[in-house]
């Protein structure tokens, strides 16, 4: 029997003052925030699109996605590129804390449920 959530490595980061984690294996890259081009009429939690290694990536504003208040830019914001079945997504976070081994973390995000921006909790613009 395998317990994936026990003693697994998580990348911890901050969004709107709260800490979250993602399984390290799902994070492809941590990038500085590049030029993000807003996409009119996209779901409300889509910050826009960016270019990474020649591919157009959809960037999700994680604060909006998690319905947290926006925070003032500190210059420590980063984009987490996460691999998914259909595409690689960019997640905009306020700060990256580091990699920790955690036992059954409480606020670990499931990379796949982030797959559908605006699917459940977005009301659109």
């Amino acid at each position: 029997v395998s317990h994936n959530d026990v003693d697994a490595e998580f990348l911890l980061f901050e969004v709107a003052g709260a800490r979250f984690g993602l399984p390290v294996a799902s994070v492809r890259e941590i990038a500085r925030v590049p030029n993000i081009t807003p996409v009119p009429r996209s779901p409300a939690d889509v910050a826009g699109v960016m270019l990474a290694s020649g591919v157009v990536i959809t960037v999700i504003d994680l604060a909006r996605r998690l319905r947290l208040p926006p925070t003032a830019s500190t210059g420590r914001a980063r984009i987490l590129l996460i691999r998914q079945r259909r595409e690689t997504l960019g997640l905009l976070v306020d700060d990256v804390i580091g990699v920790r081994q955690l036992v059954a973390p409480e606020s670990a995000l499931d990379p796949e449920t982030l797959a559908a921006p605006g699917s459940t909790n977005s009301t659109g613009s």
Partner: protein, 418 residues
Amino acid sequence: MSQSDADRARLDALSAEAEIDTPGPASTVAQLAVAAASALSAADSAPAQVLASRDWPRPGSVAVDGTRLDQLIDSVGGLVAVQHRIAALLEKARAGASQQELVLDVQRLQRSCERQVDAVRACALDVRRVRLLPVLDALARLTKSLAGARSNSLHVVVDEAEIELDKTIADGIVEPLALFLRHLVLRVLEPDQQATAGAAPSLVTLALRARAHAGQVAIELHVTGRDLQLATDSGQLAQLRTHARCLGGTVELSHAAAGCSVTLTVPVTLSVIGALLISIGATNMALPLSGVVEVVRYDERALQLRRGRPFIDVRGVALQLASMSEVLCLPRAGETRRYQHVVVINSGTRRLGLLIDQALGQRPLMLKPLGWSLRGVSIFAGAADLGEGRLVLVLDPTGLIDEQEQAEDAGLRATVPW
């Protein structure tokens, strides 16, 4: 400001130039085939042998012309030379060379770097081409297997003239085509309501035809011997259309006395397109020249309202207008703003005038598809790199016209779909 034919021809020539997109997450036909096959195996009528991987083409091995490889190696050599020259230039700068001298050196270096990169790109494109025939053959075999016990009444033919297309495109069409064929076969083999009971089932022919023309390849699924109302299967068609659009392609449906067909048209390469840059408020966007008829100066006094919709007269023909800032749901950037231009776009015989702030000029762009999560925003064909990581969104003329028509059908103005 009417767009001259010469300009058009020049840009057409530019868009015909071969260039490729950086490949996305690796996906081979084989992988997609497995995905498609597992989806197919879920269908009760799909026999297990459909999954046999030997049935699928293996584009992992690509035949490459030896001289092309030599050219590639030469170009890489050229790039290494550029690298050495950059190092030398850095030394020169550190040694205190004058700015004027350095600027000249950098300009020369930039030109030779561009030449080398173009050469590498051209070779890479050539190497990435795969043949379409094995893909169609595999789809034909799959279709035949799906028919199972009733395969005797289904005749599948493949008709293709030596077509090669970019691997990314070939990979992208396999799964949607396989799923659509499955749907088609199930429909084709449904018991014929009109046939007399006990009569031998009529022979149905499914032809997979492919033709290449002007940088596009049209793959036609043509059914004869059975009257199918494919138009009613909007769900399956819409899916195929979504996949096609991600690759910069289209899907068309036609009914004729001789049968009905669904035609999937995709570009042979993820290529450079000629584009018109436009501004709407503070937002810049691009339109593919292939869907632009002309740009005319907007004169507010010529605006007419017909059944509440705005029209202008362009050389004696009434043209319906759509305000781009409304279509894009952009906030109004100050009421003093004046629309200067109308871009006339077309899709087949349909036309629409887009009211914009300004047409900024033409430029070739490398079109890249948007991610899966933005597939719902059908007015965009993709995005393109303007350099230094800045992206510009590329509008889809067909999507814009479709949406305008749908909004009219629903008796609504173009508004947010969610």
